[in-house]
């Protein structure tokens, strides 16, 4: 098992955000983590990458306990994180944004692989990242996270707020990510997410209420209600 999270409890001050969340991901698998706003999905990803320290529980990555390791150490171990606000380096160009990841990984060929996956970025290499469109920024954010052979990618709402045409292209790119990395995908765009993922977890009020396949969700009315899936 690539990632094994057991009984995670995370607090923001007195607020008990994650209440015993357990989740696992196998190699070359896309796992969805779905739920309404405020249920703790982003907090879960932040707990894995180390921006928020859990109070209880364990996070095992490739069999190693990484629960309380610093973020930069986890990144070096092979965990990539793409936050929901993308957080590019706005004053650096597209190429410079990609080069920052190359310096860390020492793998110059990573940029070429990313440009094959996101060919739209080839014409934008000299443009400052802050001047890219939303879809272009998302592509750059994912591309940068990929450099350095990440075995696990944490994607936080990569499709939110983008035009349908861009969403379609990103969905294809995310599906291709499976060839090299496992992905934990947090999304509010439920329909799009269910088209991509192999397995899915659903959260409500800081807890996991469902674990299964996209097909099983379509048969479960209670879970659909909590996700507000429209027919």
């Amino acid at each position: 098992m690539l990632l094994d999270v057991k009984d995670l409890h995370t607090f923001y001050e007195q607020s008990h955000v994650l209440q015993g969340v357990s989740l696992n991901a196998e190699k070359d698998e896309i796992v969805g983590l779905l739920g309404r706003n405020g249920v703790g999905k982003t907090t879960f990803l932040k707990s894995i990458i180390g921006f928020v320290k859990p109070k209880k529980g364990t996070i095992l990555f490739k069999g190693q306990d990484i629960t309380y390791l610093p973020s930069f150490v986890k990144a070096r171990m092979g965990i990539g994180y793409v936050p929901e606000d993308r957080r590019l380096f706005p004053r650096l160009t597209t190429m410079e944004n990609l080069r920052t990841a190359v310096v860390a990984s020492g793998k110059k060929e990573g940029i070429d692989k990313c440009l094959q996956l996101f060919p739209d970025l080839k014409d934008l290499l000299d443009r400052r990242a802050g001047r890219l469109s939303g879809g272009e920024q998302e592509m750059l954010s994912i591309a940068r996270a990929l450099i350095g052979n990440k075995s696990l990618l944490l994607l936080d709402e990569p499709l939110t707020g983008l035009a349908p045409k861009i969403v379609k292209r990103l969905i294809e790119s995310i599906k291709k990510l499976k060839e090299t990395s496992s992905v934990i995908l947090v999304e509010q765009n439920i329909r799009a997410a269910l088209r991509i993922v192999d397995r899915v977890y659903v959260m409500k009020d800081g807890k996991i209420i469902f674990e299964g396949t996209p097909k099983q969700i379509h048969k479960n009315k209670e879970v659909q209600k909590s996700l507000v899936i429209e027919r």
């Binding site: 921006f51 610093p70 973020s71 930069f72 990144a75 957080r87 380096f89 860390a104």
Partner: protein
């Protein structure tokens, strides 16, 4: 040809500073511009390139000056004094960096001011050694003896200026190379977004420490040369207000450009010398001008010019 293009701004800077004594009011003014400009470029490693605002950077300039001055006065009249001043500034920069680079925001700023004022009061009260508020006087300039060449004294202002020009030129070249290297790219990434930089696998605190150290080292060299220029060190160089002046120069010139701080220093020294002929309240006028220019030219003089050229596709 490509290499020449890569270094064109550096060559322009060197040419400008080469002719500066002949286009300034006096060689003394040119020397002030050169050394304060160098100090501002050094400070900008931290502010413009790493995104860290220190309110106590005058400390390292001052320690460079005092280290050199005390060595020249009490130990030996030798070029080694520059190394002594620089090393003193660098060691203290490492200590300050250790305590403050793990902090952020207002806590970081308060620690830098606190260290600055700590040393100010030490040098202010230690009159027997440092001269206190009378300043350190009686500093002699060394003679440069090179094999097969006549000895070079630094008494002549123009000779002294070009001696400083040589050291500043080499230092600025190194600073530029460092900031254009992969290390410099990561400093900029830290400036843009620390969390994201950590996600890429960088220990951000280590980079903040290294940036602080480099900035302190080069600020120390600037201070050391300033001591040799004046043959005097006033305790005001250790006051936090002097730290404020280098912030003003840097922001005025453009903190997101490499040579912007130098332009800021040119403007500052020029205005200071011009206005002080008419009024003793020149700091008030410079302060007002700074407010107006900051509101009007938010990216600084050179920053605004760079944006304009970028928009035009140049």
């Amino acid at each position: 040809m490509d290499r020449l293009k890569k270094y064109q701004t550096l060559l322009l800077f060197l040419f400008f500073t080469l002719i500066l004594p002949f286009i300034s009011i006096s060689v003394a003014q040119a020397t002030d511009i050169l050394l304060f400009g160098f100090f501002a470029i050094s400070f900008n490693i931290l502010l413009g390139f790493t995104g860290i605002l220190s309110f106590g950077h005058g400390l390292f300039f001052g320690l460079g000056a005092y280290g050199t001055g005390l060595f020249l006065k009490y130990v030996s009249v030798s070029p080694l004094s520059i190394a002594v001043g620089t090393i003193l500034a660098t060691i203290v920069a490492a200590i300050v960096a250790y305590f403050c680079t793990i902090r952020r925001g207002v806590y970081f700023a308060m620690i830098t001011i606190a260290f600055n004022q700590l040393f100010y009061f030490i040098f202010f009260t230690w009159r027997d050694f440092t001269g206190g508020d009378d300043g350190l006087v009686g500093i002699r300039r060394f003679i440069i003896e090179l094999p097969f060449l006549p000895a070079i004294t630094l008494q002549d202002p123009l000779v002294r200026y070009y001696f400083f020009f040589m050291i500043v030129g080499i230092s600025v070249f190194f600073i530029k190379r460092i900031l254009e290297s992969p290390f410099g790219l990561i400093l900029q990434a830290v400036r843009e977004n620390e969390e994201r930089t950590m996600c890429l696998g960088y220990n951000v605190n280590s980079f903040r420490f290294a940036s602080f150290l480099l900035s302190g080292l080069f600020s120390g060299i600037a201070g050391s040369l300033y001591c040799i220029h004046l043959r005097f060190v006033g305790v005001t160089v250790l006051h936090w207000m002097f730290s404020g002046e280098v912030i003003m120069m840097t922001i005025l010139g453009g903190m997101h450009t490499f040579f912007g701080p130098f332009i800021g220093a040119v403007l500052f020294v020029f205005l200071r010398d011009l206005l002080s002929n008419f009024t003793m309240h020149w700091p008030l006028i410079i302060g007002l001008l700074f407010i107006i220019l900051t509101l009007w030219l938010r990216r600084g003089v050179l920053g605004r010019l760079a944006s304009y050229l970028e928009l035009r596709g140049t």
